[in-house]
Symmetry: C2
Subunit: 590 residues, 2 copies
Amino acid sequence: MADYRAPLKDMQFAIRELAGLDRLRALPGLEDATDDLAEAILEQASALATGVIAPTNAVGDEQGTRVENGEVVVPAAFADAYRQYVDGGWAGVTAPPEHGGQGLPFLLGVAVEEMWCAANLAWSLCPLLTEGAVRAIEAHASPELKDRYLPKMVAGEWTGTMNLTEPQAGSDLAAIRTTAEPEGDHYRISGQKIYITWGDHGMTPNVIHLVLARLPGAPEGVRGISLFLVPKFLLDADGSPGERNGVRPVSVEHKLGIHGSPTCVMAFERAVGWLVGQPNAGLAAMFTMMNHARLGVGLEGVAIAERAYQQARAYARDRVQGTVPGHPGRAAIIKHADVRRMLFTMKAYIEAMRANAYVTAAGLDLAQRHPDAAERARHQARVDLMTPVVKGWSTEMGQVLTSLGVQVHGGMGYVEETGAAQHFRDARITTIYEGTTGIQANDLVGRKILRDRGAALAALVTDLRATEAELAPHAELATIRTAHADGCAAVEAAARWLAAHAGDSPATPGAASYHMLMLLGIVTGGWQLARSAVVAVRRLAEGATDADFYRAKILTAAFYAEQVIPQATAHLRALEAGADTLSALPDEQF
Amino acid sequence: MADYRAPLKDMQFAIRELAGLDRLRALPGLEDATDDLAEAILEQASALATGVIAPTNAVGDEQGTRVENGEVVVPAAFADAYRQYVDGGWAGVTAPPEHGGQGLPFLLGVAVEEMWCAANLAWSLCPLLTEGAVRAIEAHASPELKDRYLPKMVAGEWTGTMNLTEPQAGSDLAAIRTTAEPEGDHYRISGQKIYITWGDHGMTPNVIHLVLARLPGAPEGVRGISLFLVPKFLLDADGSPGERNGVRPVSVEHKLGIHGSPTCVMAFERAVGWLVGQPNAGLAAMFTMMNHARLGVGLEGVAIAERAYQQARAYARDRVQGTVPGHPGRAAIIKHADVRRMLFTMKAYIEAMRANAYVTAAGLDLAQRHPDAAERARHQARVDLMTPVVKGWSTEMGQVLTSLGVQVHGGMGYVEETGAAQHFRDARITTIYEGTTGIQANDLVGRKILRDRGAALAALVTDLRATEAELAPHAELATIRTAHADGCAAVEAAARWLAAHAGDSPATPGAASYHMLMLLGIVTGGWQLARSAVVAVRRLAEGATDADFYRAKILTAAFYAEQVIPQATAHLRALEAGADTLSALPDEQF
């Protein structure tokens, strides 16, 4: 059902006109990232996603995963899809050329990743985790470790995992108990980890685990955690997988969705591992993985919503039911105003969320490659600010939109064979893993807004207001401008409120945080659509051939302005209520 | 996990202080409905729900249903729970005494029903459908049919179903093709029906189907549909089930949730049936069932949210994770501000939704039993207005709240064994069956607001404003009053807008309808909480013993005022945008 030709045009628009691939071409190492290259890559990825990966989605959901003879068995169709993905060279798209990667911009990486996620979310987690592990190893590991592991991982020949959570610890990494005993040049890792995504499988000859553990005598809390590389199979002298290491999958979870993705309980029993980075600095190293992964999970919200939208739209065009005022005879349900409202809501949010994610990814390219240090810092601050927003808002909305996808189908949506329900089930994990929405919101308010006294947020507001000025000359964009100005004012008011009231009580930042995250998501998403409308007006004035597409861009921004932006003020009001009422209710009255 | 002692206090509060059981006691036939009786009934129902029905919920979800030897097999534990329900006399709680019912007010009926739904939604659909069938037969069938079928159905000895939908028709009853051929005193029914809830099972010796079909030469469309009673087993001369009739379950659907409830494809092959009501007047008769069922499904939204809340609250009190500013040591997650926000959101919505449903049920009692015809009409108009709001809003929010229930659990919520995910899956049907939210919204705007030129809505606004006046003398309720006044203003503005603009285009009422429904849900829910706060202030001034409960009532109204009511204005803005943008996007640009 997934057909990634449909959104290609919007993806290309976001890459070219909003995220600005041309800006990236000016960066060292990205000179070859032309529009033509981008188009070719997207076309090829779309063919693989549509023709090879998407057909494994429903079957993977049905078959699920299991542990057999000490190894995890995943749906059979997954291995072939993975093989084609590796053979096509997709694993190393954004990885550095010195380790065998193609060194393409993150901006193109996220566009390609969106297609894998939409095609099969459960499957796509395997490449996503591997990419994160590559990034952590590249940033923190010794040259020897890099040489031994990175080329295979960059190529996708071996996959990677991220072993954080323990049963007693949940999101609370301070409570980690897994131990690492020094032994010669390596360590012996012992402990149990839970919720390890793609913690084991037989699709590749090795699986490389990154594991948080404590050295003997390490300080309590998060400052006593170190990061270790623990391969499933120890490498022979020639670098090929040999003896099995002391790590094995104990069981897989029976989950609401992403059935094809093995979520493992992993047992480490004196497993041999190597330190990655400095002792007791594991958390920082892990955050290298997590920040990347958070942007990736935000993208999953976009992708799964897009998949649900494609299916709901196809159904709404086909399904004839009832009559519609103003239409002769019985009508396809896309003609029913409320069904149309649902579909347009999906379309508008998806385009807003996609643009937000792509623009943030381009910011990552600029933050890493810009020759000017001040520019790098400026872009990094924006990426840091927007990462929890992209993660939290896109995944929260991903759930709302996949639920609308079910609703468009009516009773058929509740029947599993239709497939709409799978997207709804799969999407439900995205606000939980890689840090719940609450954790994203705390990160946003605590680390990204209060810590720099609102500097990064103020810079964002300046950019938001600049777009308001760009809208001003265009009378046909008045609705969009008014709504965007309301959104800007809400962000400014929220920023002022936080600056003035964050210290009111210990609970205040936490109480305000969810609303701040949603407010920023709504307004920045609307900002990207407003920018789209300005571009569209310009292209139409230039006599663009695809006038219908550009007119639709303006209508989509208007729809979002009318239907979505008003919620920004609702979040502002809730935020301004502070924590008093929340804190006043005694625990026992819940 | 479900423990229906917890919400008993809130249920009794809603019955006594908001819905006004004392008003009902003044009605003929309800003189015995004392507070003590209500309390006793709720206690007994709570024991059955908690001790007998709730334990069948997870196992029913796992086992599901299947067709075997021409009969549907449901989870084994269901039959015993059903037997205890029948033996306890619960089936006929609100049914008329002349057919063996207890003739209690609907108000108590919904409170009891809420417990069955929360205990096991899949199971509870069997009694719910039976009750609806009883109501339709009572209102429309001949005395002979009533005598033969009602006593057994009222007692719960036989169950009832509602056969509307056909594969080609969906919600579009005009397209129904099932036929009814006259033959002596009866008819021969032939056709296929889908999505028939509890269409077959072996828990009782008979199943009584109400079936929509067409007589020979009947007019096209909904004016050519008649209603028939078709028993699974034809009755012998002594009234006991004898020969198998020509109706059988073909298959059951594989659904996202409510796995324990068989959703059947039913085949009618020259099945013997009897006409219920007048020829070609089947739709009106079916609406007798549907309106009752819609209120019941609205209640399901409350019930499943309550169940999810109980579970999330228990988890949040137990689960210790991380540290919280202002709390020493590691803290239970209920202390985390954002978790607390989610729990308080659940609590506030549930109490608002419950009160809305109960007040509407009391209105039904007044509409049916008030000695004064004008009063009956006045109450009926309110019930008619509020039924789609209770159905649509409570089920939409039921999904949001069960999703919050998952979120509070973090990763554990995504693991099926925890049980939080089942509520989320089960809840997803409630915005679809008995008319989707879009259908409720169209009913609200088209039949309930525009048709009487806003008269019923204006009467509601008068009542809303009266509560604002009651809030005014209490300085400590200022936040609640301000928010409630904002909500009232939003409803008034929406009413004015609809009156002025509904004719703007054929799509306008449909485009506005969802937002009108949500707006009315939010504001009427807040109205009930505002009324609660006024009562609580009075009780506190009187020196009520349970001061903590009443103080919590005021805080809950304040939380809702701060966090929820602001969304009313967002819905108003979206509504006022009309249908222009929605209609302007060409189908092919979706």
